[in-house]
């Protein structure tokens, strides 16, 4: 409206101010978007339940974004691959061997494997378990893959 009143000396000031505002908007959006990308990475790293320490650092809206994202991802994964879907957060690395030697880093409790037998995962116990069953627990820090 100041431009309409014909005060041409103000036009440059207005344009400059507009550029500053646009830049600020870009910075804010870039910062927020970058945080979202990191939060997204957390779903793939930690699973669908985030540790409290991390949740503590997230805003309410970010938690909501995360919940919507993981729901959307779950819907997609269920739609691929037959009846149960395909959990894409598993099988991150190419399989080298069927069974791996793992050490338990903290008490976890009972853990069921393929043929119905259960294993008690106590701190410092070692087990020879099917690789595909351990992936999630290794990523969560419950088990440690022992490389001989």
């Amino acid at each position: 409206s100041e431009a309409k009143s014909g005060r041409t000396d103000l036009i440059f000031l207005i344009r400059f101010r507009h550029c500053c505002l646009l830049r600020n908007q870009r910075c804010i959006v870039a910062y927020l978007y970058d945080r979202l990308l990191r939060i997204r990475a957390l779903r793939w790293e930690y699973g669908s339940i985030l540790p409290n320490t991390i949740q503590f650092h997230m805003s309410a809206e970010e938690v909501e974004w995360f919940n919507r994202y993981k729901k959307s991802l779950a819907t997609y994964m269920r739609s691929v691959g037959g009846e149960e879907g395909l959990d894409l957060t598993q099988d991150i690395k190419p399989p080298k061997s069927l069974y791996i030697e793992v050490r338990c880093l903290r008490d976890y409790g009972e853990f069921e494997i393929e043929d119905g037998t259960t294993v008690l995962l106590k701190k410092n116990s070692q087990h020879f378990l099917p690789r595909w069953k351990c992936e999630q627990l290794i990523r969560q820090g419950v088990l440690e893959h022992i490389l001989s």
Binding site: L21, L22, Q25, R26, I28, V29, L32, Y33, L36, R40, S59, E61, E62, E64, W65, R68, Y69, S72, L73, T75, Y76, S79, V80, G81, G82, L86, L88, Q90, D91, I92, K93, P94, P95, L98, R131, W132
Partner: protein, 213 residues
């Protein structure tokens, strides 16, 4: 016997897995999201279910079971890796991917499967809502929108890729990189390997004439 609804010739399991591996490698090395391959995915899933069912019925004659299990694990890894690669690209380029899918003409193959399309739309809506509620709605009226198509970077089609030629191609037009150069044509001999800009050979990847490595 894995034709699962495809209208083309029946592939043997070995051919099916090779198709999957080719699609996987292409997707891994291409800078943009490639055509979706629903037939391959459907057949591979069927194949995996089939193999799992066989394993459950088999006696614990150790060696054979282990080998088959390993095979299942490997195939599942390739399939997961392929789908993950696509998801990463969909999320990274979400406004462009959705735009491209919308502007695909009738009869042209889809970039996104229906499920991927739903996922992409949800991702976009989720992100837009978040940005609006956290930042944009507090801004001056003329700054309350962000043009996602302009702000989110596009895939770099000029990036270089390695490829192996599967079908001989003649007279491929290579565009100059600098102003001093001029465009020239090359022939791609079957079996030869090249390092070339993706944009130049993008249609050949789609047609299966070359394989990215």
């Amino acid at each position: 016997d894995s034709d699962g609804g495809s209208e083309e010739l029946v592939l043997t399991p070995a051919q099916l897995i090779r198709s999957l591996e080719q699609a996987w490698l292409n997707e891994k090395f291409a800078p943009e999201l490639l055509e979706s391959k629903p037939e391959i995915i459907e057949c591979v899933v069927e194949q995996l279910d089939h193999m799992e069912a066989n394993l459950k019925r088999a006696k614990t004659g150790d060696l054979k079971v282990s080998v088959h299990r390993m095979e299942i694990e490997r195939i599942r890894y390739v399939l997961s890796s392929y789908l993950r690669c696509r998801l990463v690209k969909i999320e990274k380029f979400f406004p462009h991917v959705l735009e491209k899918e919308k502007s695909q003409a009738e009869g042209e193959p889809s970039i996104l499967s229906p499920e991927e399309f739903a996922f992409a739309k949800e991702y976009m809506a989720n992100t837009e809502t978040y940005l609006k509620n956290v930042a944009l709605k507090h801004m001056p009226p003329n700054l309350q929108k962000v043009a996602l198509l302009k702000s989110v970077p596009k895939p770099n089609l000029d990036s270089f890729v390695f490829l192996r030629v599967l079908e001989r191609q003649e007279n491929i037009l290579v565009e100059p990189e600098t102003d001093e150069q001029r465009e020239y044509t090359i022939d791609l001999e079957e079996g030869s390997q090249h390092l070339i800009r993706y944009k130049t050979i993008a249609p050949l990847v789609a047609s299966g004439a070359v394989q990215l490595i």
